[in-house]
């Protein structure tokens, strides 16, 4: 996450109200490569040496390429986490220090050479080695190690853009996210981070409002970190849109981020835990084509104050949407709970595909029922969806 002074924004018409992060793009990869090469040149040297020289050198690269020095500083921030360091001595610095300081404390009059020579005999290594090892484990004294493979400019640009957005979210108190798929996983990530989620049906999938519990009382920083760490889960979905309300340098800023933005994808959402029946259904609908599309977990429904995530959303090109739930073989308790949830969710067009082997009557189930044996008939599902669409259109 980039620190506040390195956060760059593109203001809209001179205002920060609807700003977008000033991302690095493919054009920046040229100078980013030069920066990576500079970094690489410090492999084998100490962090202190690198920190003393590198910033000026990188800024000079930025000036030569006509880019912001703050963007260059941001790239340094991202890159410095990719080059690991090691303690450059075969001795244990903690043991060396304990021996040296104790020897130095023995004399009534301090004599550095005498203390080191006693430490030399005690540790059995030359004084020069002892002095070198004394503080070799301090972060600035560590030596930089070559990474297994140097990061490519493209990877660094993506990582910079992610760190830029996360730096902005760190200073936000609430975000609005439109998610088109994996809503359940995204909500779970938000909840794991201690955030509160509300959801509504939006034009572009499900609209989630994510914020910390304290945000209704006052602006807090605690949940800024949670919002920033939850963001990679959003980036892992396709077609997302995010709007964040931030406070940057004491000024309110609304930041927009979208799926088209070039941002590193560091998270993988859990592989769809759907059954073979669900996977086959999704594939069959795709093959049939036409005006209908089936999207996995694209919606959340409020059921008694808790979210319920139907398996699929089936969407017509004219905007009509129905929820699809596939009920396979489950325990009687699970089935009972599921039917309860479906009854509560039936205020929206709903198709419930039920395994013929399940002992439940059509009357027990809310919504349109489609029975299946082993495999849901995709054409039959589309027919039911079409019926629902027509009946909704006929409603006054």
């Amino acid at each position: 996450m980039l620190p506040a002074d390195l956060l760059l924004l593109n203001a809209r018409e001179g205002h920060l109200a609807g700003a977008s992060p000033r991302y690095l793009t493919g054009r920046d990869e040229v100078w980013v490569r030069a920066v990576i090469d500079r970094f690489d040149g410090y492999v084998g040297r100490t962090v202190r040496e690198r920190d003393a020289e590198l910033v000026d050198r990188v800024r000079s690269i930025a000036r030569d390429h006509g880019v912001s020095t703050r963007a260059a500083d941001g790239v340094v921030h991202v890159l410095s986490r990719r080059f690991k360091t090691k303690v450059d001595t075969p001795l244990d610095p903690v043991a060396v220090r304990a021996a040296v300081f104790e020897e130095a404390g023995r004399d009534a009059h301090y004599d550095r050479a005498l203390a080191l020579s006693r430490a030399e005999s005690r540790l059995g290594v030359p004084a020069s080695e002892i002095v070198r090892a004394l503080f070799a484990d301090r972060p600035p004294a560590r030596r930089i190690v070559a990474p297994a493979a140097p990061p490519s400019p493209a990877v660094v640009v993506d990582a910079y853009n992610l760190a830029l957005v996360q730096g902005l979210l760190l200073r936000s108190e609430r975000v609005t996210v439109d998610v088109r798929e994996h809503v359940r996983a995204v909500v779970r990530f938000a909840k794991l981070a201690g955030l509160l989620c509300t959801y509504a049906v939006g034009e572009n999938g499900t609209r989630l409002e994510v914020s910390g519990p304290l945000s209704i009382l006052r602006h807090t920083t605690k949940y800024g970190f949670a919002l920033a760490s939850f963001f990679p889960a959003v980036v892992a979905t396709t077609g997302f849109r995010l709007e964040a309300r931030c406070v940057l340098r004491d000024e309110p800023v609304v930041v927009h981020v979208g799926a088209a933005d070039r941002i590193a994808r560091t998270h993988k959402l859990p592989k769809d835990a759907d059954s073979a029946v669900e996977r086959a259904l999704a594939r069959d609908v795709r093959r049939i084509g036409g005006p209908w599309s089936l999207v996995r977990e694209a919606d959340a429904v409020n059921v008694g104050g808790r979210p319920f995530f139907p398996d699929f959303t089936i969407r017509h090109v004219d905007g009509f949407v129905a929820l699809v739930e596939v009920v396979g073989f489950y325990t009687p308790e699970y089935l009972h709970g599921k039917l309860e949830a479906l009854r509560a969710a039936a205020y929206r067009p709903l198709i419930v595909c039920i395994d013929q082997s399940l002992a439940c009557e059509d009357g027990d189930v809310a919504g349109a029922v489609l029975r299946f044996k082993k495999r849901v008939d995709a054409a039959a599902l589309l027919a039911v969806a079409e019926q629902l669409r027509s009946s909704t259109a006929r409603l006054p």
């Binding site: 220090r97 304990a98 104790e102 009059h109 301090y110 503080f135 600035p140 304290l214 209704i216 807090t220």
Partner: protein, 461 residues
Amino acid sequence: MSPIRLSFDRGTLRVDGAVESISELVRRDDRTGFHRAPAHHYATVLDACRRRALDVENRLEPTLRSTRTQEPPPSLRPYQEQALFAFHSFGRRGVVALPTGSGKTRVACAAIARAGERTLVLVPTRVLLEQWSSVLRAQFGGPIGIVGDGVKQLEPITVMTFESAYRCLDRYGDRFGMLVVDEVHHFSGGGRAEALEMCAAPIRLGLTATPPFPGSLGAERLRDLVGPVVFELEIADLAGRDLAPLEVVQVCVALTADERLAYGRDIERFAALRRDVLRLNPDADWLTCVKAIARTPQGSDVLAAMHRAGALAAFPSAKRAAVRELLARHRSDRTLLFTATADDAYALAEEALIPVITADVGRAERQTILTAFRQRRVPAICSARVLNEGVDVPEANVAVIVAGALGVREHVQRIGRVLRPEPGKRAIAYELMTMDTVDEARTRARGRRFAAGRSSSPQRA
């Protein structure tokens, strides 16, 4: 009328039921459909309900109430008894401000023993985490919980770092009836104060040697989070009787010719730009000037030059020589050296072969160093900031302030390190000052404010 139900929800007080009777204290949360108040207002909300004779179903009560038996409190000196009395007189919510070394921990132990509640003690550093847990273990026996420095164990009395509190009191904020905050002045500003907002403990005691200025925003913030300053004494009130007698000596040093040249070159670049800013905006304060300079094309270079000049003035070769001289003079004493930066501390340590305590030093090594110091196996310890606050080294009798970066508050804390009373002990604090530089201006400014709270002015050497 349905009763008011109070419970804890993710760092806030959840309020259900007939909330209209206390509507000024709560806010509706449309996201969840119930009302919330900051958790630290629990006592206020409960008090309002009682005064209005409202029926309350208090679900926090069982988690806040103690399962501890009341232990006998430790014996206290008269001024410590007065501090405790003042704390109780203010409804067991308030800040006790006492100089370092005067036994704030002892006052807190007595307050914890008398309250008999489940207690959470918050401390700023890992060093203090260890120190508080040893003191509490010695006083109360039994397991003492620790949260921080890689440990997470909750007990009826638990010590937690500020950082851990910030991270996890949204989960544990309802587990303690009493909150003790060491070095509470840290919460007079900044985002970490949210940690205290998430804790519902109705009994709240803050400890500090440097309370915020009365009437300041910081003082108001602390009043809301912990309570008002209920008792305050300064070094001058206790020095020589309940604290070791103190002598402050200022040691003036000069830059070498080469250093003066480099210093002048760097500082003049900054001064020239600052003059330009002041010409356009004569009322601009320091921060405004720095911000204006940062926005100029050469701003970052000029600010870097200013930092370089400041670093040189804080630790020139003459100060190194002075430290060598002072360490030799006080070889048989226990000396603490304070520098402005960790780099300067390590430079001194490498030259004088004395241990350093900084944030980079791990728990085990820190403990080894403090033990060696107490056992007189090492004559001095060097530090930049970690030793500023709370670390208990009663044997130390000499402080060498090589340079400071955080003003009079840091200065008071540092000098306080050598004031813990011991039979026959006399404390000396040396302030090193580089003449005709920003270091001199800084040292004089904090010296003036420090002397305002003392009976005598420092000597010059």
